[in-house]
């Protein structure tokens, strides 16, 4: 089995194995200690399994009522008690897609700037600013998005987009500022620090010798980046994107503020919509009736399964990468 080794660490000789002929009492104490810590570690496993089991049990009424049609129905009618996940799924997909389209290239060039181009002082300042952006709570992004950024979008960005690209159905409609596009852009800002942090690590893992040989041949920075660094680290870059995707799918409060909470599906990105997480945040506390609540919990279950798969995939992907490149990520 491959294990992560830190330099200078010796693994094989484990001199404190409690089984190695120690006084009886200490052996018992050590074994108890080991058991206590192991059961605390087991809590993590139990919780992950618990999420799945508890949520599945809690949405039984909705599962029984709607079955598989829940996934493809666009109804969301609290009065008639007809529920379907389609509009939330659509909104999650669209807002996440907008976020990825903006965040991935930006993160890539920011990581590049941090690793290859910036002088040390600038690198520290920029790096810290990007890290702090990751620390700002979701609800603060929401406040800023709702009161400042959405009006800015409505006044300046959306009219310009409508004028320039209005021949596409994506950019038609009244520029209200509250809608998919605004939510997607704010999401992009929120996931950007996570993606660029991983990408920066990937760039740093490329052995300097490989890059130096290319520079020695007379390649420019951009050529080295495109033909050496990015090719060498392509797996890591993809893994970084998946981590960002996992974040974007479940972001709640910022999106709940700016997406408009509307369960109709529109082609225009200016139109309000909803995502799974924003529907939960906006409607849960006012939901009454078992079926309504269990439909909301089923939405949550879908979100859990999706983000679980994304996280497992991203972690496995990056782990095999760490192993093959032989460095800590």
């Amino acid at each position: 089995m491959a294990v992560r080794m830190k330099p200078g660490e010796q693994r094989k000789s484990d001199p404190f194995d409690p089984a190695q002929g120690r006084p009886e009492q200490r052996r018992k104490g050590d074994r108890t200690f080991r058991w206590i810590t192991a059961s605390c570690a087991a809590v993590v496993l139990v919780l992950i399994a618990g999420f799945f089991v508890r949520l599945t049990l809690s949405c039984r009424p909705s599962l029984a009522q709607f079955g598989w049609r829940f996934l493809i129905s666009s109804d969301w009618d609290q009065v008639a008690e007809k529920f379907g996940a389609l509009s939330s799924l659509y909104g999650t997909l669209v807002s996440t897609a907008i976020a990825m389209v903006i965040a991935v290239p930006l993160s890539l060039v920011i990581a590049l700037f941090l690793v290859e181009l910036a002088p040390p002082t600038l690198r520290r300042v920029t790096g810290s600013a990007i890290e702090l952006l990751a620390a700002v709570p979701s609800i603060i992004f929401g406040m800023w998005g709702f009161f400042v950024f959405a009006p800015f979008m409505a006044r300046h960005v959306e009219p310009a987009l409508g004028k320039g690209l209005g021949f596409l159905p994506l950019f038609r409609g009244p520029p209200v500022g509250i809608g998919m596009l605004t939510a997607g852009i704010i999401l992009a800002l929120m996931i950007l620090p996570f993606i660029s942090a991983v990408m920066r690590d990937v760039f740093q893992m490329v052995p300097p010798v490989v890059k130096e040989s290319a520079y020695g041949m007379g390649a420019t920075t951009w050529e080295v980046t495109r033909k050496i660094t990015m090719r060498y680290g392509v797996r890591g870059l993809v893994g970084a994107c998946f981590l960002g995707l996992g974040r974007a799918v479940g972001e709640t409060m910022a999106v709940a503020f700016v997406i408009g909470n509307n369960s109709d599906i529109h082609a225009s990105l200016f139109a309000p919509g909803n995502t799974i997480a924003s529907t939960l945040a906006n409607e849960f506390s006012e939901a009454n009736g078992d079926l309504y609540i269990s439909a909301l919990i089923e939405l949550g279950l879908i979100l859990f399964v999706v983000s679980f798969i994304l996280q497992v995939f991203a972690n496995l992907w990056l782990k095999s990468l760490t192993r093959s490149m032989g460095a800590g990520l």
Binding site: F113, I139, I140, L310
Partner: protein, 282 residues
């Protein structure tokens, strides 16, 4: 080999440099814009009443968020009491016993996955687990949700920090005849205490701005917190409620609360970084 003139390649390269500098500037500007807005709008709400009065409905003068500050401190404090010992012990297992066991690998992997699970799912889980069976939104449920969010963060940082402690230190303590738990708590923990502290600070920073899990578990309340067996006022949900109200005075208070949370979270973050950097220099 295809010959390409140097001028075009250099121009391309220059262009990339400009673009990447612009992207980095964009990130900094976004942060600056958000912070400036929060400071500018939040500062108008900050006064004596803001800290020492409870949340009041609109129209009544002198509402504040005193109850939400106390409530948030209670919830986060309780989450620390629940989550930190559990997380640290899990981290001890990962670093001291489970470095290359199958169980250890499974736990480490699950903790990584759990850190990426949306916090709203944790809220929903605690709702289904505690709130619904007890027919009551409660501060306890809120604290449990926050503790669950802290657990994987604490476990992983504890593991990382304990792994940095050289094995020779453990070996010498064991050679003196100390039992394993004593070695862990009195030798290894002491050697890693700065790292453990930063991990704790980062975990607290991470959960103290969390809104979504509290929305389903402890709701909000306009009163001073007197018991955890019912909804408890807290800053994040107060921001959400006030911001969605159509009244200017409540929105102003929401901005004040936003400023409070932002400053708190950023101070925790920056100080943990400074602590870590200073200990690295020593």
């Amino acid at each position: 080999m295809i010959h390409r003139p140097a001028a075009g390649r250099k121009l391309e390269d220059r262009l990339l440099k400009v673009i990447s500098a612009c992207a980095a500037l964009l990130g900094i500007l976004a942060l600056a814009w958000i912070l400036l807005v929060v400071i500018e709008k939040g500062a108008t709400a900050i006064n004596w009443d803001f800290f020492f009065h409870r949340t009041l409905p609109t129209g009544e003068a002198a509402g504040g968020v005193g109850n939400a500050i106390v409530g948030s401190a209670l919830l986060v404090g309780l989450a620390i009491v629940i989550g930190v010992p559990l997380g640290m012990m899990a981290g001890v297992y990962l670093a001291e016993f489970g470095r290359d066991t199958q169980f250890g690998t499974a736990v480490r992997f699950s903790a990584n996955v759990m850190m990426g699970i949306p916090s709203i799912i944790v809220g929903l889980f605690v709702y289904a687990l505690l709130v619904k069976p007890m027919h009551m939104y409660s501060g306890w449920a809120g604290a449990v949700a926050l503790a669950i969010l802290m657990l994987p963060i604490i476990a992983r940082t504890t593991e990382d920090m304990l792994q940095l402690v050289p094995n020779a230190l453990r070996e010498s303590a064991l050679a003196l005849g100390a039992p394993r738990w004593k070695v862990t708590f009195q030798v290894v923990f002491r050697a890693a205490r700065v790292g453990l502290l930063t991990g704790l600070l980062l975990a607290v920073a991470r959960v103290s701005g969390e809104t979504a899990p509290l929305l389903f578990t402890c709701l909000n309340s306009p009163y001073w917190p007197t018991s955890l067996n019912g909804p408890v006022a807290n800053l994040p949900v107060t921001i959400w409620d006030h911001a969605m109200s159509p009244y200017d005075d409540l929105v102003r208070i929401a901005w004040g609360a936003s400023l409070l949370i932002t400053v708190g979270v950023l101070v925790l973050n920056i100080s943990s970084r400074l602590i870590l950097r200073r200990s690295a220099h020593e």
